[in-house]
Symmetry: C2
Subunit: 497 residues, 2 copies
């Protein structure tokens, strides 16, 4: 009978260590002087090690078993919490300490070499390090897979997105992949029929950009009493659940990129700030997974803030802020800027419709690499083949190809698919929301996100990890994830039907 | 043979937790949104608890004993490190966990009530809470005293300043106390003979104040690659040893207060940044104690930066920065502003010569309270008596009397004397430095702190906790701490002889 409360206390402490790590990582990207990097590495390694030790303490497994035996005394919330505790424990305990350490070291080295390799487009330089990271990721996948009764790749997927399986992704991505090349081409054709885009002339002062960013964050629902906006080289949403630190990066030449970035991170932040206060520090209070997290950022950025409705609110606001003049600042022109389709080499610069092609390339390749069906030295040519097939582009240089992302040298295998699953989920949720509340779209046209936020709070944020992703989606939208809403959204926005 | 390396590893991890705590505390005062306070409290309590658990782990005592037995194999540095490990361990292990927790809770409550009590000058409101804190401090002092073979008050002193004893303080403070009332009066008389002070007319833009503050920090030797300057309600020097975060508070009406505050904290920061990089994460690499730490801030602020020499450099700099005009900006007038004597009720606003009187009042009272020679309900009248005797002032209200400082409700008993010991130490070190290197004073007149910094690095910073405070002072100045250099300094600066 004491096992469950003991576990709650242990996980609460672990959660506070994770929160501290989140703030220290934010600080490292935003505030920390460069010379403190070594000291910060020591701090993070120590805290991560302590959290891991507490999680995998010799009695955690027994406590989980005892709590399971006593689970008749637990309510639904506690049972869900216990389920999440076990999942987290299994992932952590499955991997022997020396494998964790070897992988961490290999990743640190590979990330360092990757920066140089990417700069020079030199895959051969990265190859031995990437090969080492892959070998260790395969071992981790196998170890986790054995503990969880999953294939290696499924076990890696499950690390980022509980319950996500290759068998669920394959048909969704196959459906999308079959349609994408034609869709991209049609969208470009369709685009040609529209008036030429008028450029917005800067410079756009950073202070004005920050002011309008904060204004829109507030409109969307960001709570500045429990979060901040700052600047970092790579924008992110971090900090801790009750202290959400988002970042952006300003360019005086282009305000739209930072602004859309801020709105994207604000979507993530809403999910962090919107989970129940009383569930804080417990696993059931955590975000459900990376697909759902990405769905919240893409729902705000792509579904809501690139909609015709919102742009009618945005256009006069930015025109006034930056003292813009002329028809370049019309809602129609702004909307065209925000929905331009242009196949390119770089994933992070991709538009909404070509982005999934980048993900499909990476998903297929990492699956094959983990399964041993592709050799790591063959990655560049396999990568370039797939880019040619899906995007119609000839990669001139590995820095614009398989060297562009940090994920693989960084040891984040099984992460890529969550971006596009997030986009699909966003479309499905946004459609359900708009159908459930007729005030949502008209609200966006007035900069009023309250109806949308209310729906998201009720149907997504407030659930934490109480439900599985499937259960959550069925409750919110009537069905598990399909590609249908996303495909319809793309056709409507980019083909006009 | 393995005991010592095991201890080094354990203390290194503890040090990284402490570093993390330092950054999180800095963040709480400078960056954190208000709504995150509860979450931050959880983080800090968890990390402090973990550091304490690691320090007092069941085998730490045995490891220390084994390492002592093997100490023939250790070099001097390792032996000093081991000595510091044991001191830290004894302090931590002496106090039972429930006493630590009870004290921490009583302090939290008392600090909260104190804010209201101070606002309203209502000692009765604070009394039961302060009484509780005192009771627990006496128990802590007794527990530590038994473990360390010290009286209760000495044990509390030793927490802040290793090796500091009442028997060493009493004669120093008696000597000072006997002289102070007359000295203060003479200084005021002497001041009357000087030309009237011309006020500096603001406003002084905050950006300019920050710029000149950063300029002077660099001149003094602050390494911005391993530290920052920010804003907080109460200025402090925090962060971690290799990532020193100092803060200030600006007023557009008065730039001098923030600037001198910045220079004060820069003195602390030099000590943090100046200890040997290779000693990082080990107890022997820690600062020697609060008296020495305060000596470093006061040496920079009071000895160096309020000297005639430095003011000849400062005057044209501030005049140019703030576009000042007229003789108010002359070095002579600025120096008078920086050395004005004016007895007042508030310790933190006190000038260099009346400040020690505030400390003597508090030292005598906290000694008596800990010893049981004074009852807590009699504190206000005892406080006011002593203020009358030493400063010649009649306290009109406890908010200007015994309620003004957070130290006692905050559980920092045994801390007050280190301020004035720091001032004495600063005078003794500065005199020795100036005698050892004739370039130091002329350097200050050119804003060149390199000679002074070189001497401090060699004689103070680089020593860490290798030596005791006495050993360090004897090596640096030829004698242990006496009141003589400080008394001579006050007479010279404030009486002109």
């Amino acid at each position: 009978m004491h096992a469950y409360p003991t576990l709650e206390e242990r996980f609460a402490r672990i959660s506070s260590i994770e929160d501290a790590i989140g703030i220290l990582q934010w600080d490292a990207e935003t505030m920390m002087p460069e010379g403190a990097a070594d000291s910060r590495s020591d701090q993070l390694a120590t805290l991560k090690g302590l959290a891991h030790e507490m999680l995998t303490a010799h009695d955690t497994g027994d406590l989980l078993d005892q709590a399971d035996q006593d689970s008749g005394h637990l309510d639904d919330w506690q049972r869900a919490n216990l389920r999440e505790m076990r999942r987290i424990y299994l992932h952590a305990a499955a991997v022997p300490a020396d494998l964790v350490e070897a992988s961490s070291r290999a990743v640190s080295r590979a990330e360092l070499v990757w920066r140089e390799a990417r700069q020079n487009g030199d895959f051969a330089l990265l190859l031995p390090h990437l090969s080492q990271v892959l070998t260790l990721q395969r071992q981790i996948g196998q170890a986790k897979g054995e503990a969880l009764g999953l294939s290696s790749y499924d076990a890696l997927l499950d690390s980022y997105d509980p319950g996500l399986r290759q068998a669920a992704i394959d048909p969704l991505f196959a459906e999308l992949g079959a349609e994408l090349p034609a869709l991209i081409q049609e969208a470009q054709e369709h685009q040609k029929g529209r008036p030429a885009i008028l450029p917005l002339d800067g410079p756009f002062p950073v202070d004005d950009q920050r002011r309008i960013g904060e204004h829109l964050m507030k409109a969307v629902g960001f709570d500045f009493n429990r979060g901040r906006l700052d600047v970092s080289l790579h924008p992110f949403c971090g900090g801790s659940t009750r202290d959400v630190r988002i970042t952006t990066r300003y360019s005086e030449a282009n305000f739209m990129s930072a602004l859309m970035g801020v709105l994207h991170e604000t979507g993530h932040a809403l999910y962090e700030q919107g989970r129940p206060e009383a569930w804080r520090r417990q696993p059931v209070g955590l975000a459900r997974g990376m697909s759902l997290h990405e769905s919240q950022s893409l729902l705000i950025e792509m579904q809501a803030c690139r909609s015709q409705e919102f742009v009618t609110y945005l256009a006069p606001l930015v025109r006034e802020t930056f003292q813009g003049e002329g028809s370049a600042w019309s809602p129609e022109n702004l909307h065209q800027i925000l929905t331009t389709v242009e196949p390119g080499f770089i994933r992070v610069d991709a538009d909404e419709i070509t982005y999934p092609a980048h993900i499909l390339v990476r998903y297929k390749l990492e699956k094959a690499l983990i399964a041993g069906d592709l050799q790591i030295q063959d990655l560049p040519s396999a990568f370039n083949d797939k880019v040619k097939r899906l995007l119609g582009l000839t990669v001139p240089d590995d820095s614009l190809g398989c060297l562009q992302d940090i994920h693989w040298p960084g040891g984040a295998w099984g992460y890529f698919p969550t971006y596009t699953l997030g986009a699909m989920t966003a479309a499905q949720l946004f459609r359900a929301a708009s159908q459930a509340d007729a005030d949502i779209l008209p609200g966006l046209a007035k900069g009023d996100f309250a109806p949308l936020r209310t729906w998201l709070r009720a149907n997504v944020h407030s659930k934490g990890s109480l439900l599985t992703t499937d259960q959550l989606l069925i409750a919110a939208t009537g069905q598990p994830l399909t590609a249908e809403a996303f495909r319809a959204h793309l056709r409507e926005r980019y083909l006009g039907h």
